[in-house]
């Protein structure tokens, strides 16, 4: 098949589908269109990935020069955001959008034009990995949304369904993400970047409650700030390097022997843009606020799209600032975000908030890896991106499904969930374990990260300390959640029914399957996707792939056998444990220990309290909010992280 058709299916088709869905009122038609469109996109994305790196020129769109089309769209989009700012009455948003507009006009009309034509799409391993993640994980989340949104709107008692709008925006979002990771021209990338900002604003505010409107506005201003940083970066790059082609920019940057501050400045702005998109501290509040939106939105924002755009930008630009002090500051900043948000997650009993902080933490870890800027750390970053998308998407969807059933997203209310919705509970537990335990992919990513950090040449000690501390906190909040989910006072639960919507169960199962299977074939994934993507970048820009090693990368011949031997033993052991657990007879059942006062009343376990009154048992986790609560430490975190940003940008000015 022709390359242009595949790219069309990934980038333009979602927008067209979005338009079609916007005008599709019938729910049954929508349920045909959405899966069909997702299937086409996914097939196209996987085919693209299988074909490997490519370059594609786009001369004209509908007879107009592609560059002109994109410039006009850029300006229109900014004007639209300006309008939104006006409507919201937010001077902040209007001001920053106006600045972007001025910057963009200056870039288009005043600065000298491009002397070389820019190749429209230059896709390498990294872009292709991203396209596959976005389309497959994002696609499954969209399918989940079909069932979820029906129930959601039932609960809200809507008279007219707002689903056409919802799915239209989601498709545009997926298209924009694919465009962002595939295109080579920075000003095109900027268009897609702003579309994701706009889409996330609209999706977060979808339910139109006061809270969702307020959170949407916060997301908008923070991301508009990121957009402003992006425009500034483009201005400086055009001025100092004379081109907006990512490829040429990187080529010029990597061939420089000495990188002075003036030439690094635009990259500091790119970092700033990426930090806002990836909700790093102090911008974490927009992502935490995004959980007011329907679950498919938070699943999408947290896993495959939006936040991954920031890390993608950093990974893409990393070769330009390899080996500089700026890179070390980025690494320190990422590691700090990792530990800070892991600590914040400990104090939360709201499941979505735990997930949100854990997302930010993992993004921080990715950014720390990017900052270390060796081939090994880049591999770690890419691995974490892949596995984090799958597991986090899964966990968000699980919490959504649970919430629709039990009416709460609080971890304490999930006690004994295994008895109520066993399949979803087991999938959630598996999801949790894929985030934190071997042999699952996330842990392999973390392993590679620690290996890479231990070999870092600058500021290794603080970074490794942050990461070690952060991962201990991670274990704390995941382990207790898993325990709560399977809590039960019956020997064997006899499940009755699961989630009523087939599309929800389908998405949960597929993503859970993906998380497990992809972990099992992780050496293969690393060998065929991750390693070529990193070594490709290093070869293209003639960089020395120092520290391209770790035994942890599993790609070495002996590493393989080793790991499989161990994991096989572990798998066998867990299987045996499971079998033994299933075989314990009901007759071995005992009530929990209450110093001899155990009593069971109407199936509720408790004890005989004072005055012979029955007391049902109540247990709860420690959330330690007196030490790690948001109100206690957020301020300090904001101050420290702002200081990092000031040093990052101000150090170069």
């Amino acid at each position: 098949m022709k390359m242009s058709t595949l790219v069309f299916c990934c980038v333009a088709l979602p927008f067209i589908m979005g338009l079609v869905l916007y005008f599709t009122q019938s729910s049954s038609t929508r349920k045909l269109i959405v899966p069909a469109a997702i299937t086409i996109m996914a097939v196209a994305a996987v085919t693209l990935g299988a074909n490997g790196a490519f370059r594609l020129e786009v001369g004209s769109i509908l007879g107009l020069s592609a560059d002109t089309v994109f410039s006009v769209l850029d300006l229109l989009l900014l004007v639209y955001i300006l309008g939104i700012g006006w409507k919201l009455g937010s001077r902040l948003i209007m001001g920053m959008t106006l600045l972007q507009l001025v910057g963009l006009l200056y870039l288009k009309f005043v600065l000298p034009g491009h002397e070389v034509p820019i190749t429209a799409f230059v896709a390498d391993g990294l872009s292709l990995i991203m396209v596959i993640i976005i389309t497959v994980v994002g696609g499954l989340i969209t399918i989940y949304g079909l069932g979820y949104m029906d129930l959601h709107e039932e609960h809200l008692h809507l008279r007219v369904s707002r689903q056409p709008r919802f799915f239209a925006i989601i498709f545009c979002f997926l298209g924009a993400m694919n465009g962002l990771v595939l295109c080579n021209n920075l000003s095109w990338m900027f268009l897609f970047w702003e579309i994701t900002t706009l889409c996330s604003f609209m999706l977060i505010g979808h339910d139109q409650t006061d809270e969702s409107k307020a959170n949407a506005q916060r997301a908008l201003w923070m991301n508009v700030l990121g957009g402003l940083a992006f425009v500034s970066a483009m201005l400086f790059i055009q001025k100092s390097l004379g081109t907006l082609s990512t490829e040429l920019v990187l080529q010029k940057m990597t061939s420089l022997d000495v990188k002075n501050t003036a030439i690094l400045l635009p990259f500091a702005f790119f970092c700033l843009a990426a930090f806002t998109k990836s909700a790093q501290v102090p911008f974490e509040s927009w992502l935490c606020g995004a959980m007011v939106a329907p679950t498919p939105v938070s699943a999408l924002l947290h896993s495959a799209t939006m936040v991954k755009a920031g890390t993608y930008l950093l990974l893409r630009m990393a070769p330009a600032f390899a080996g500089t002090t700026m890179s070390t500051i980025v690494a320190l900043f990422g590691a700090f975000t990792f530990v800070a948000t892991c600590i914040l997650a400990v104090s939360q009993s709201n499941a979505k908030k735990v997930l949100a902080y854990s997302t930010i933490a993992n993004l921080g870890l990715i950014i720390a890896c990017v900052g270390i800027n060796t081939a090994a750390s880049m591999m770690a970053a890419t691995t974490i991106i892949i596995y984090h998308s799958v597991s986090k998407g899964l966990l968000f969807m699980c919490v959504g499904a649970i919430e629709q059933r039990i009416g709460s997203r609080d971890i304490e209310d999930m006690r004994g969930l295994y008895g109520k919705m066993p399949r979803t509970a087991i999938i959630t537990v598996i999801g949790i374990f894929t985030m934190m335990l071997p042999p699952f992919g996330m842990l392999i990513g973390k392993w590679m990260a620690i290996e890479a950090i231990a070999r870092a040449t600058q500021a290794m000690t603080p970074i490794v300390f942050f990461v070690a501390l952060g991962s201990a906190f991670t274990v704390l909040f995941w382990a207790r959640w898993a325990g709560v989910l399977v809590s039960s006072s019956k020997m064997h639960e006899h499940p009755t029914y699961g989630h009523p919507k087939p599309s929800v169960m389908f998405a949960l199962r597929s993503l859970c399957g993906l998380a497990v299977v992809f972990s099992f074939i992780s050496p293969l994934v690393l060998k065929t996707f991750v390693e070529p993507s990193v070594s490709g970048v290093y070869a293209r820009f003639n960089m020395q792939a120092e520290g391209f090693i770790p035994g942890a990368t599993l790609t070495g011949a002996e590493g393989y056998v080793w790991i499989y031997f161990l994991f096989l033993l572990l798998g066998l052991g867990v299987w045996y444990a499971w079998r033994e657990a299933r075989r314990v007879p009901e007759s071995s059942h005992a009530q929990p220990y209450f110093s001899g006062l155990t009593e069971v009343k109407d199936g509720v376990v408790g004890f005989r309290g004072p005055m012979n009154v029955f007391e049902p048992v109540r247990v709860s986790n420690f959330y330690l909010s007196q030490y790690f609560g948001e109100s206690k430490i957020t301020r300090a975190i904001d101050i420290i992280s702002t200081a990092f940003l000031v040093v990052l940008v101000g150090g170069l000015l």
Partner: protein, 283 residues
């Protein structure tokens, strides 16, 4: 192939060694308290008796957790004997710790739940130390492989004395010795009953106990690696660490969990480790 067989051999011997050391521990503890104490083989008699009892548990997840805990301890010990990767060993060890917590939280019992929460706080204290110690190893040998340590010609103790102390600190926590026995006390502290282990009984309690022996062997093995150049040195290090643990266990009172979280105890071990890492980094 040889390594695998000898590693498996070591793994089979480990429960015996672990059990003996535990018996030894109980004897010394008794002497420190002016008692005669049980026979040296008492831990084995205990296990045999537990294994013969009728299983009684609240739910099937407890059984699952008990097995997984044992499997993870055994696997990490196997990895150690095979000279494998330290980080991988650490991660496999975490599996066991996590399942201890899962097993304790999954029963609606206040004793085991409180124990589990405290166990998590303990993990918070020792996990970073272990990672930092392993990073110290990597800085000295250039890789995270255990086998690489044995290619050095100088004992690691000279380069990482503070990390050894930090490891001792983590050891006290991991073995649940006083003052860090807040999650599952061996002593007659009433308020917790037996913390994380409250709900285990009979054969499943035996599994957990054996897992604990394996952990003991593993951690003492890690201590021995600090003086890998001579067998006597290894024996001295292991003996000294074990005796110090027992002594500290007997002369200190138990902490409250609040004390655990506050800076002093959480950061002391990590502080030691960090200083040593900085020193290695500069040197």
């Amino acid at each position: 192939m040889l390594t695998i067989f000898s590693a498996i051999g070591g793994l089979i011997l480990s429960p015996l060694v672990g059990g003996l050391l535990t018996g030894f521990d109980r004897r010394i503890t008794a002497r420190l308290q002016s008692r005669i104490g049980p026979p040296l083989l008492q831990p084995f008699y205990d296990i045999l008796k537990l294994l013969g009892k009728q299983p009684l548990v609240t739910n099937a997840w407890l059984v699952f957790s008990a097995y997984v805990t044992l499997i993870s301890s055994a696997l990490s010990l196997l990895l150690f004997f095979m000279g494998g990767d330290l980080l991988l060993l650490f991660f496999v060890l975490t599996v066991g710790a996590v399942f201890q917590v899962v097993g304790a939280v999954c029963v609606p019992s206040p004793y085991s739940n409180v124990g589990a929460q405290r166990e998590l706080l303990l993990m918070l204290a020792y996990e970073p130390i272990l990672i930092l110690v392993f990073v110290g190893f990597a800085m000295c040998t250039g890789s995270f492989s255990i086998a690489a340590v044995f290619q050095l010609d100088q004992p690691l103790l000279l380069k990482m004395p503070l990390l050894f102390l930090a490891l001792g600190y983590a050891l006290t926590i991991k073995l649940r010795k006083s003052p860090f026995d807040i999650a599952a006390s061996h002593h007659g502290h009433q308020e917790l009953v037996r913390g994380v282990q409250t709900e285990y009984s009979g054969p499943y309690l035996a599994l957990i106990e054996i897992a604990h022996w394996l952990d003991l062997v593993l951690i003492l093995g890690l201590c021995a690696m600090f003086w890998h150049t001579s067998v006597v040195g290894m024996a001295v290090l292991v003996g000294a660490s074990l005796f110090t643990e027992i002594l500290i266990d007997n002369i200190t009172a138990r902490l409250t969990w609040q004390w655990m979280v506050q800076k002093k105890s959480l950061l002391l071990g990590m502080g030691l480790a960090l200083v040593n890492l900085l020193w290695l980094y500069v040197a």
